[in-house]
């Protein structure tokens, strides 16, 4: 198995469907490590739901004829969402309305697949889900890196950074922070020192870049500043 292959999980309570879907993907697509599960529980227990990948969830989401005590597709999606899983989910469904709750799933990680469908549509959907999974993974990595970089800042630098990100000069920043907490006055030269360190640690060249960095990863910091 190629370790770079993307995990693809087929969760279907119908064995021929599981098998045929697996065969189709194996025969027509490359770069996937396919695993199949017959129930949501088995999937959640055994799959690497915290790693990047794709899940095709074809479980009946009502209990009209489903077995009692088994998870429906929606419940599995909910569980994945709760675990902040980076999986991209494909959710085949038949006639009828799409449950609205699923729309609100994080990152828009769920794709719909109208059943019955041709092989090409199915394969296209899987391909699209792959890209989505990769983008989710990239985002996560970037976020992790950003958090790590931010973690390197000292406490005072963490206070200085959002102010600078708002485009304030060193003098304004020192005045602003001093006013914010009269017990801890700060000199503009000290601000300059901090700012230099921030640039180095966060790998930003100027306050614009700093602002973009914070907007992307720590928007709440900018909000807090503007509030106070």
């Amino acid at each position: 198995m190629n370790p770079n292959n993307l995990n693809l999980y087929i969760v279907d309570d119908d064995q021929p469907m599981r098998k045929s879907l697996g065969a189709l993907i194996l025969a027509r697509l490359d770069g996937f490590a396919v695993q199949s599960f017959e129930s949501g529980e088995a999937f959640l227990d055994n799959a690497h739901v915290d790693a990047s990948g794709i899940a095709i969830l074809d479980l009946r989401f009502d209990d009209v004829s489903g077995q009692v005590g088994r998870m429906s597709g929606l419940e599995v999606i909910q569980a994945l969402n709760d675990r902040k899983s980076p999986l991209a989910v494909i959710f085949p469904c038949g006639h009828g309305t799409i449950p609205e709750v699923v729309d609100a799933m994080q990152d828009g990680a769920v794709s719909w697949l109208q059943k019955p469908c041709s092989e090409d549509v199915l394969l296209g959907t899987v391909q699209a889900a792959k890209e989505k999974a990769q983008s989710i993974a990239a985002n996560r990595r970037a976020r992790h890196a950003a958090i790590e970089m931010w973690g390197r800042l000292s406490d005072r630098e963490k206070e200085v950074a959002p102010v600078i990100a708002r485009g304030m000069s060193a003098k304004d920043t020192s005045r602003f922070l001093t006013n914010l907490d009269l017990q801890r006055p700060i000199d503009h030269r000290t601000v300059e020192n901090h700012w230099a360190k921030i640039r180095a640690k966060l790998d930003v060249a100027n306050s614009n870049e700093l602002q973009r960095f914070l907007t992307s990863y720590f928007p709440e910091l900018l909000e807090d500043q503007s509030k106070s």
Partner: protein
């Protein structure tokens, strides 16, 4: 309830019959009151009297002062004027020349004889020279003084009482040459004292006050100077006084009074001695030749009460009997007594005014009291009446409130809706239960005329009819059912009982209806019925539609798998994975097999559930269907009408399948009429023979089938129903074909869809 029957009888003390004790009490009260009035009168009188006494006392003081002033004014005139030289000269001359017989004493026991006026010898003597000259001078002198002093006369007497000179020397009468030795004042002065006397002038006849002083020549009294003063001024002021004043001498004789008729009367009896004395001194002789006189008693009656400082004097004044208050003041230096009176009439007036006023006041008081008592009695009566009324009202209110609250509790606890309407159908009352049942508030319902908001829109006709019947009193006593619609839109089934509403006067004012919510019961029945139908359909008739649905779902799985596998096979073939391709192809055939099995199951199911073809009568089959459909027809409020000739040839058919077909047609017919009024929902089933075929025809009164839909009616999966599968008619056609017959459709010219099935007659 007990009310005091008559106000006049209520207070016992106002009753006509009184006890003697009460009379005595009343009499005593009256007497006490009279006494009180008298006392008040007496008090007023005494008060007035005391004012009068004060007045009299003041008057006494004034008069005493006046008298004393008068006396003081003249008292010393004689002495002063006697100091003139001519006077002693005259006296000396006169005594020297006076004849001896004139110089002797008169017999004092005969005052009349003693009086000697204008004695010619004396006149002559005085006219002799040198006496005349001196006398003239003295006369002028005395006259001058007399005029200046304002006395009546001033005159000089010698030691024997002869008037030598007088101020009225040329008057008529003149005192000159008269002799006044009989007068006490002369005697007193002659004796060397001060002479003082009040008397009626024996010459002038005018009363006056005489003062006399001795005139001494050397050591001997050789003459007396006298002055007579009238009390005219005093008398004049007295005359103006309203009440009489009296001046009494030491003997009690009135000698000065504002009332002339009381003059010279004796207020007390005179002794003989007194009388003699009076005659001798000629004190009150009013005429020169008057005889010895007696004194009548003063015409009054005097009443001295022990507790009074004054006397009461009753006398006639100006012809009227009057009573006076009199106070006497002794004037010891004159031996007089001054008596001043005041009319007691004001005191009596005050007494009577007080009594009258008091009586009036009492009468007013009594009247007021009586009125007040009467009013009080009336008020007590009214108050008792009011209290009684309030108590009664309170009791009634309590009763009413209790009965209302009882009724309210009863109504509130009722699960049954209550509704009262007037004769026009206007809602005049609803109980909480009805509001609860229908979801409308009482405000929304009260005053409403039909149609009521809770009427079910699909049954408006029936509601109108029921309503009309109810208002006509034709509603069934056993109640009738009605379908209502709750405000929130769900259906209600009510059992309604209506009874006439009769008011207290026996008038029929409206209708009272009680409504029992039988929705739950109805729903239970409905569920039961549905369940029964379900059982019939699935158990006995094996509803093909549902079966098809299940099978379709089951089939979708292998078909989907087939799609996937064939896609995979394509991929493996392209990649040259022969082994995988083979495996996939096996899977494909496996899934195709699976699909075939499912289809076989349908077959088996159908076969299994039917007992097979056998001869049967079409009418029996139709009747069977009608029996099966009865609950559904009731539910759909549809009627099923049949037109079936008795003699029809038998057919060879699978009873159950044929029943299913007809049942399907009837069901479709009923569903097509659901938007019609219940009365118009009629399904007609007609059977008959056409050549070598028997037919059964089912039509409804619905809207029919649109032209463009009629071509597709029997196609599988065609449906006009929201929840239909579109298999019913298709299966029907298949079934008919199975029986060697067919199914036709036509829209009726009158409206409504008509289906006909044809089955060949059994040969």
């Amino acid at each position: 309830m007990t009310l005091p029957a008559d106000p006049s009888r209520a207070p016992a003390h106002l009753k006509a019959g009184r006890t003697s004790t009460q009379y005595v009490l009343i009499a005593l009260a009256v007497m006490a009151w009279a006494g009180l009035l008298a006392g008040a009168g007496e008090w007023a009188a005494r008060r007035e009297i005391s004012a009068l006494v004060d007045e009299v006392r003041r008057s006494l003081e004034v008069q005493t002062l006046t008298l004393r002033g008068t006396v003081a004014r003249y008292k010393h005139i004689p002495f002063t004027s006697g100091q003139q030289n001519d006077i002693s000269g005259l006296l000396t001359l006169a005594s020297r020349n006076m004849p001896a017989h004139l110089a002797q004493d008169f017999d004092e026991s005969n005052p009349l004889l003693n009086k000697y006026r204008q004695n010619p010898e004396v006149v002559e003597l005085l006219a002799t020279h040198p006496l005349q000259e001196t006398t003239d001078r003295v006369d002028v002198y005395l006259e001058d003084i007399n005029r200046r002093v304002g006395s009546e006369a001033l005159y000089l007497m010698d030691a024997h009482g002869w008037v030598l000179s007088a101020s009225n020397w040329n008057g008529d009468p003149s005192f000159k040459s008269d002799n006044y030795r009989f007068r006490p004042y002369f005697k007193q002065a002659r004796a060397g004292g001060m002479g003082f006397f009040y008397a009626v002038g024996s010459t002038s006849g005018l009363p006056g006050l005489f003062f006399a002083t001795p005139v001494q020549v050397g050591d001997t009294v050789s003459g007396v100077m006298a002055i007579k003063v009238t009390l005219t001024d005093v008398e004049k002021t007295w005359e103006q006084a309203q009440s009489p004043l009296f001046l009494l001498d030491k003997r009690g004789i009135v000698f000065l009074s504002s009332k002339a008729h009381q003059l010279y009367t004796a207020t007390r009896p005179l002794s003989a001695e007194d009388l003699a004395d009076l005659n001798r001194t000629r004190q009150y002789d009013t005429g020169a030749n008057s005889k010895a006189r007696t004194f009548t008693r003063t015409a009054w009656t005097v009443d001295q009460r022990p507790d009074e400082v004054f006397q009461r004097i009753a006398m006639q004044i100006d012809g009227h009997d009057k009573e006076y208050l009199a106070i006497s003041e002794p004037l010891p230096e004159f031996d007089w007594t001054l008596m001043i009176t005041a009319d007691l009439a004001p005191a009596e007036q005050a007494r009577w005014i007080t009594i009258i006023m008091g009586t009036l006041l009492s009468a007013l008081l009594l009247l007021g009291t009586l009125l007040w008592r009467q009013r009080e009695t009336r008020m007590i009566y009214l108050r008792r009446l009011r209290e009684e009324l309030e108590r009664t009202v309170g009791e009634r209110t309590k009763d009413l409130a209790e009965s209302i609250s009882f009724r309210k509790a009863m109504e509130d606890s009722l699960q049954t809706g209550m509704r009262a309407r007037d004769r026009e159908g206007r809602v005049i009352y609803v109980n909480p239960a009805l509001c609860e049942i229908t979801g409308y508030t009482s405000e929304e319902l009260l005053g409403r005329l039909p149609p009521y908001p809770y009427w079910h829109p699909e049954e408006t006709e029936k509601h109108w009819a029921d309503n009309e019947a109810a208002l006509k009193g034709q509603a069934a006593l056993t109640g009738y059912e009605a379908r209502y619609r709750h405000r929130d839109g769900h259906d209600l089934y009510m059992m309604i009982f209506t009874a006439p509403l009769i008011d207290g006067d026996g008038n029929h004012t409206g209708w009272m209806s009680s409504m029992v919510d039988i929705t739950a019961q109805k729903n239970a029945e409905e569920r039961q019925r549905q369940h029964a139908i379900q059982m019939q359909r699935t158990g006995r008739l094996a509803n093909m539609g549902e079966m098809a649905s299940t099978l379709a779902h089951e089939l979708s799985q292998p078909l989907m798998a087939l799609v996937n596998y064939s896609g995979a096979a394509k991929g493996f073939a392209n990649k040259g994975h022969t082994e995988l391709l083979n495996e996939t192809l096996s899977d494909i055939s496996e899934q195709a097999q699976r699909a075939a099995e499912i289809i076989a199951r349908i077959r088996g199911f159908v076969r299994q559930s039917t007992p097979g073809f056998q001869p049967c009568a079409i009418n029996d089959i139709v009747n069977n269907v009608i029996a099966l459909m009865r609950p559904e027809a009731l539910q759909q409020k549809s009627r099923i009408v049949t037109r079936m000739p008795d003699e029809l040839p038998p057919i060879k058919a699978d009873r159950v399948l044929l029943e299913q077909v007809i049942l399907n047609l009837v069901l479709n017919a009923m569903q097509a009429m659901s938007d019609r009024f219940p009365a118009d929902r009629v399904v007609t089933i007609e059977t008959g023979r056409e050549g070598d075929r028997v037919y059964a025809r089912v039509w409804d009164t619905g809207a029919g089938v649109a032209e463009r839909d009629s071509q597709a009616l029997f196609q599988p999966f065609f449906t006009t129903k929201a929840d239909g599968l579109g298999l019913g008619l298709n299966i029907c056609r298949t079934t008919m074909e199975l029986h060697g017959g067919r199914i036709d459709f036509a829209n009726r010219p009158e409206g409504g869809a008509m289906f006909t099935i044809y089955i060949p007659v059994e040969p």
